[in-house]
Symmetry: C2
Subunit: 286 residues, 2 copies
């Protein structure tokens, strides 16, 4: 019996947009995810882009609003959109939009009441990955991208798994969560007060210590984004990259804000970046 239940299926451009439900053993609850597949005949073994969404989002936001399917259908890229946290009445939550359900921060929580279910890292890197391979036969190159909290997720998951992800892109990512309000609140709750345990979930710290296969990074940041200075500041990551000659590009986008309007404007360039980078061999980071 299949491990996934089909909820929606829609033709879009030369591909199909699916939405599925499955029961996650890692998270201990039912979860939905969305999956775009390009035309099977033209692209029998497509690469897979992992898209990680931001605070308050589900798997629907990117799927409905980014318009990425047009470029993905043309370029032959599959896209998996996970939800952003475990969900359900039995699952710990808070009244705040930036903690609990919709705010899983793509890590494995160690503190109660979160530790029982908030294992988004393992969910994506292990369980959902196995599903993609076993149920959907997606065994090609993998890319990772995301927005805001999901940009943090893309950077952290990508940098922690350099052998697996060929390239990373992000829109307005939280690059140094240990030092900004959104990240400090999440890490204090999910990981506890011992800040030495925060570094492995902080892109800036990971980049400083990165070794092994080089995973190039592209970041777009709108200069009209109200969270730019307080929560994001990708220049900090760019400086760390420059110091060790790491291939990272931050593009400041004039007049653009934190919304999906910005993502829809540049997502095609991100997909092209991933596809182009997957054809290069950038070697090993010392």
């Amino acid at each position: 019996m299949s491990k996934v239940e089909l909820l929606e299926e829609h033709r879009i451009f030369d591909g199909v947009q699916y939405k599925y439900r499955h029961t996650s053993e890692v998270l201990g609850c039912p979860m939905t995810f969305s999956l775009f597949l390009p035309n099977k005949d033209r692209f029998p073994e497509p690469p897979l882009l992992w898209w990680l969404s931001g605070l308050t989002c589900t798997d629907d936001n990117f799927t409905h609003k980014a318009g990425a399917q047009r470029a993905a259908a043309r370029l032959g890229i599959a896209m998996i959109m996970p939800d952003t946290s475990p969900r359900g009445e039995e699952i710990a939550d808070s009244k705040d939009y930036d903690l609990g359900q919709g705010a899983g921060f793509y890590l494995n929580a160690t503190e109660e009441p979160w530790a029982a279910h908030y294992k988004m890292y393992d969910y994506i890197i292990e369980e959902l990955t196995s599903l993609m391979r076993d149920e959907f036969d997606l065994n090609g190159p993998e890319f990772i991208s995301g927005h805001s909290m999901g940009g943090h997720g893309a950077l952290v998951l990508g940098l922690k798994n350099p052998e697996r992800f060929q390239s990373i892109t992000a829109f307005a990512p939280i690059v140094n969560p240990s030092q900004v309000p959104w990240g400090v609140k999440a890490f204090e709750n999910y990981l506890g007060d011992d800040k030495s345990r925060w570094a492995e979930w902080d892109a800036l710290e990971l980049l400083k210590q990165q070794s092994g296969k080089i995973v190039p990074i592209l970041i777009d940041q709108g200069d009209a984004d109200p969270f730019y200075k307080k929560e994001l500041e990708p220049a900090k990551l760019a400086e760390a990259a420059k110091e060790r000659d790491y291939p990272l590009t931050v593009r400041m986008q004039k007049g653009h804000d934190h919304s999906y309007y910005t993502i829809s404007t540049y997502i095609e360039e991100h997909l092209e970046f991933h596809l182009n980078e997957s054809k290069k061999d950038r070697g090993i980071q010392k």
Copy 2:
């Protein structure tokens, strides 16, 4: 003092997506609308596309989901997205999704309790039109398009105002509302039982009697649309067009359903159709 209040402003591609609120005198309530403007320097006098949405929609659905801004920015087309009915606690409503708020059917209601506020035809053709001209200086060619109930709206408003709209397109329109469940329910409530008064709001009847300037029509209809046979059936309109040699094209789109995924796939071709048709002179219908 400006008649409109700016609620949102987002850079997207080479243009700006706005959302406004204003107080409608015609509808007797506050209304929101969304407006996309292409780059002013490149397109100082853009044509204006009116987009009419379907049942349950607001001005947000097309704005968020259709991805039309990319093509509109490239082609230099402004787009106005009105809401689909008057709104508010003081406004008549029903518990049904297909009657009352979110289901204005782009007509002027004559029956109570609807007649007091449900004047979407006059709202769009007069009040919102004046706003576009006076507040936003949009005095160029005009096109009209829409989806489902909004496809009905585009056909009816376009055919009733052939001197004004250069071209009409629609996705899965209700072409003969007098004869299908959605339309009969709306017309009985808004217009009353005298069916002789329904014809002026029925695209099929309007097309049969059409005279004056020829307004070419393009319709896309998915063959996997669950409402195709029961509510839509654009072939009826195509037959009436053929009988009098009216320029109407219905394209059946394989595998496509009633969703915005279909609209996002073909909206660029609709914008190109409008722009190309506005350069032709098709003459006068006898």
